[in-house]
C-alpha cells in the first residue's frame, strides 16, 4: 500500500498555495504522481426574452494556460493536468474515482469560501463524495516558516 496518485484540485486562488506545497512535498516523498485539476463551472444561463444576448463562454485557452502554470516547485515530481467542467465537488470526486487517486489534498477554502466557515462548500462537497481520504490544508498552514505547521521542513 502506498500513495500512487495524489489529486490536487485547485481554483486558482492564492489561498491554495499551502495546499499545493503540501501536495508537492507528499508526492515527492511518496514518489506519487500529482494530478493538478481544475473544474470550470459552466456559466449560468439567463433567458430574458428579446434582451437575451448570451453570456460569454469562459475562454478555455486562458484557463488551460492558467492551469498549465500550476506546477510543482520541486523538480522530479511527476505531474499531469486535468481540466474538467461541471459541478466542482462532484467532478473532483469523480476524477478521484476514475484515476484511482489514493488521496486528495486540497485547501479548506478556495475563491468562493467564506474564511470564517470551517470549510468552503467545495471542500465540504469533495469530502462528502470522495472515494479516498481528503487532506485539508488551511490557507494559514505554512510549511517552511516558524509557524507550528512547518511540517515538512527538515
Amino acid at each position: 500500500m502506498k500513495f500512487k496518485t495524489i489529486l490536487f484540485p485547485c481554483d486558482f486562488s492564492t489561498s491554495e498555495t499551502a495546499a499545493l506545497e503540501y501536495a508537492v512535498e507528499l508526492a515527492a516523498e511518496s514518489d506519487a504522481k500529482l494530478l493538478i485539476a481544475h473544474v470550470q463551472e459552466p456559466a449560468p444561463v439567463y433567458a430574458e426574452g428579446n434582451f437575451y444576448t448570451g453570456i460569454p463562454l469562459p475562454d478555455y485557452e486562458v484557463i488551460q494556460k492558467t492551469l498549465a502554470n500550476i506546477r510543482p516547485s520541486r523538480p522530479g515530481v511527476r505531474y499531469e493536468h486535468r481540466l474538467l467542467s461541471g459541478d466542482p465537488a462532484a467532478a473532483v470526486a469523480e476524477l478521484a474515482r476514475h484515476e484511482n487517486a489514493d488521496l486528495i489534498v486540497m485547501s479548506s477554502h478556495g475563491r468562493s469560501g467564506f474564511g470564517r466557515l470551517l470549510m468552503g462548500s467545495i471542500a465540504e462537497g469533495v469530502m462528502r463524495a470522495a472515494p479516498c481520504p481528503v487532506l485539508i490544508v488551511k490557507p494559514r498552514c505554512k510549511l517552511r516558516s516558524e509557524e507550528p505547521a512547518k511540517a515538512l521542513a527538515r
Binding site: M1, K2, F3, A19, Y22, E25, L26, E29, S30, L103, V105, S108, L118, M119, E124, M127, R128, A130, P131, C132, P133, V134, L135, I136, V137, K138, C141, E147, P148, A149, K150, A151, L152, A153, R154
Partner: protein
C-alpha cells in the same frame, strides 16, 4: 527523519482504526514519527449529597493496554503511544501544537459521531483549530 510527527488520534472506533493505515503511510513517506494518541475524556462528575460515592475512574491501565496493543499497519514506521486526558479535540490540537505536527489524521466519525453529519464533533473541532493540515478519512 524529521521532528514533525504525524498524529493519529483514536477513540478505538472502527472509523479511527481505518484511518490508521493512511496515517502510517504519511508517517512512512515523510519519515515522521507516528504518534498514536488517545484522549480519555474522563468521567463527568456528579454529586448526590451524602449518598455520593464518586464515580469509578476510567481504568487508565486498561486504556493504556488497549492503546499499546495497536501497532502501525506498516512495519517500517517509527511510532509511539500517547494518552492525554480532557476534551478530545482540544487535546489533539494541543498535542499537534506542542509537537509541531506535520499532520493530524482522524476518522470522520468516532464513537460519538452521528453518521448523517458530514463530520463528527471531534473531527470538526480538530479541523477548526488545527495548526497543521488535517487528513479526514471518511471511508
Amino acid at each position: 527523519m524529521n521532528d514533525h510527527p504525524i498524529i493519529w488520534a483514536t477513540d478505538f472506533s472502527a472509523s479511527s482504526e481505518k484511518a490508521l493505515a493512511w496515517a502510517g503511510l504519511l508517517a512512512r513517506d515523510l519519515e515522521s514519527t507516528l504518534v498514536m494518541l488517545h484522549v480519555e475524556p474522563g468521567q463527568p462528575t456528579a454529586e448526590f449529597g451524602s449518598i455520593y460515592k464518586g464515580l469509578a475512574d476510567p481504568h487508565i491501565s486498561e486504556i493504556a493496554a488497549t492503546l499499546a496493543s495497536i501497532k502501525p499497519v506498516q512495519s517500517d514506521v517509527r511510532y509511539e503511544h500517547r494518552i492525554r486526558a480532557g476534551d478530545p479535540a482540544a487535546q489533539i490540537i494541543a498535542e499537534a501544537k506542542e509537537r509541531s505536527a506535520a499532520a493530524i489524521v482522524v476518522g470522520s466519525h468516532g464513537r460519538s459521531g452521528v453518521r448523517k453529519l458530514l463530520l463528527g464533533s471531534i473531527a470538526e473541532g480538530v479541523l477548526r483549530d488545527a495548526p497543521c493540515p488535517v487528513m479526514i478519512c471518511r471511508i
